[in-house]
Symmetry: C2
């Protein structure tokens, strides 16, 4: 039986890259694999913007909250939901596209995200390191301007890639049982939560993280510092405005 690459189990996010280049041929091989990913109705309603230019990386940097991977990685990829190309094709063929709505945005975002993840799996199997930047949905409007994205196109995630220059510890994960539900959703009791989060909270790095942030619990680091309600609400409003501006809320 064929086996899948050990990198699927051993993976860790890589934020420091060596100066060794990622050659065009390798990048193209990885992107070719990514474009074999499942896509709704074989429409391929996504685009990938490849950033290699140092000036463009500097321009993108603040939109990714100055995370240094943006300028230090040899390759930055912005995966975009894209109904622009498909709709242009339809109009050229006397077919009236009806993709200026929220469902179509979700369809295209799903296409883009699945392709992104295939790229990452393929890259890691080749020994490259990758890091996803969650900032893309927060700062979509600025990224749209920087990359010149037309109506019908919305960036949904960004991946930095390069040869690893660090070997970080593998991060913890919740027990598989915490994520899985058999047949129907079994809502979590307090005892379940205690059980599933016990190992994570007992870790030295978790305790240190809370201490460094002057918080009494790891959870408070998330709610009060890393992913606050105020930020989430503000970014929600701007993201919904982006969907409207990019032509995905006409209903």
């Amino acid at each position: 039986m064929p086996d899948f690459p050990a990198s699927l189990y051993n993976r860790r996010t890589i934020r420091k890259y060596s100066t060794e280049p990622v050659h065009d041929q390798l990048l193209n091989d990885l992107l070719t694999a990514a474009c074999r990913t499942s896509t709704t109705g074989n429409m391929q309603v996504y685009s990938i913007i490849v950033t290699r230019d140092a000036k463009m990386k500097i321009r993108l940097l603040p939109f990714h909250f100055n995370q240094k991977m943006v300028t230090e990685a040899p390759v930055v990829l912005t995966f975009c939901a894209d109904f622009n190309r498909f709709s242009k094709w339809c109009r050229l063929r006397n077919a009236e596209p009806g993709y200026d709505n929220f469902l179509s945005f979700m369809t295209a975002a799903i296409d883009a995200l699945l392709a992104a993840q295939t790229f990452c799996v393929a890259a890691e199997a080749k020994g490259l390191g990758i890091c996803y930047l969650g900032t893309t949905t927060y700062m979509a409007q600025s990224i749209i301007e920087a990359l010149g994205l037309p109506k019908g196109v919305v960036p949904v995630t960004t991946v930095t890639a390069g040869w690893p220059a660090e070997e970080p510890e593998q991060p913890d994960r919740l027990p598989l049982a915490a994520i899985l539900h058999s047949e129907t959703y079994r809502d979590y009791t307090e005892a379940d939560i205690e059980c599933y989060y016990a190992e994570k909270e007992a870790r030295d790095d978790s305790r240190q993280f809370a201490r460094e942030n002057n918080k009494e619990s790891l959870a408070q680091v998330f709610t009060d510092i890393r992913y606050t309600k105020a930020d989430n609400v503000a970014f929600s409003k701007t993201l919904l405005q982006v969907l409207k501006d990019q032509g995905f809320m006409n209903h």
Copy 2:
């Protein structure tokens, strides 16, 4: 240099499955790999509902427009955006969660989709066949009821998996150049569209598909039959209502 599995290039969606079971151990191995996928801030804000029960498959079947993979596949997986578990943990730790908003839905949906795709890559590397069901976002409300998903949980995609009982042709893809943009988005001219869609439109199966549907072009099959504006608008409204009902639109 390690190599990635040939299945990344050779893949095709599998809709017919043999009666050979997918054993729990293999499924758990694949799901364990999926849970190693990148996740925003290591929050793992997703859940996976495993459907193996024949009665539950029959219940889900109409919500996936009676696609026979739902009842014929040994395993059906519904990947859900889930801020319920994480928010429960926060509240137990004197931390006030602020994840009842659209941005948080997108964050959780991204987590769920990336994990889904790792599952699929791993499954295909092991020789299994998979099929994504796009119907999940259309019929989210009914799926929520069938699977008993509480507030904070929204299904975003469904994957059927099993041992292949067919060897379909590999579907076509647009040339890589159609998907990629270097540095900035280069919007498509009519000549670009003609060039990128020429091979797809010249295929016998594309022509046959248009003919069978009594359409003058392949594009019209998409706009008039497969993914119509009326359906997209209706599903957009119900999906936005689902996000509201599940507690992701409080801003």
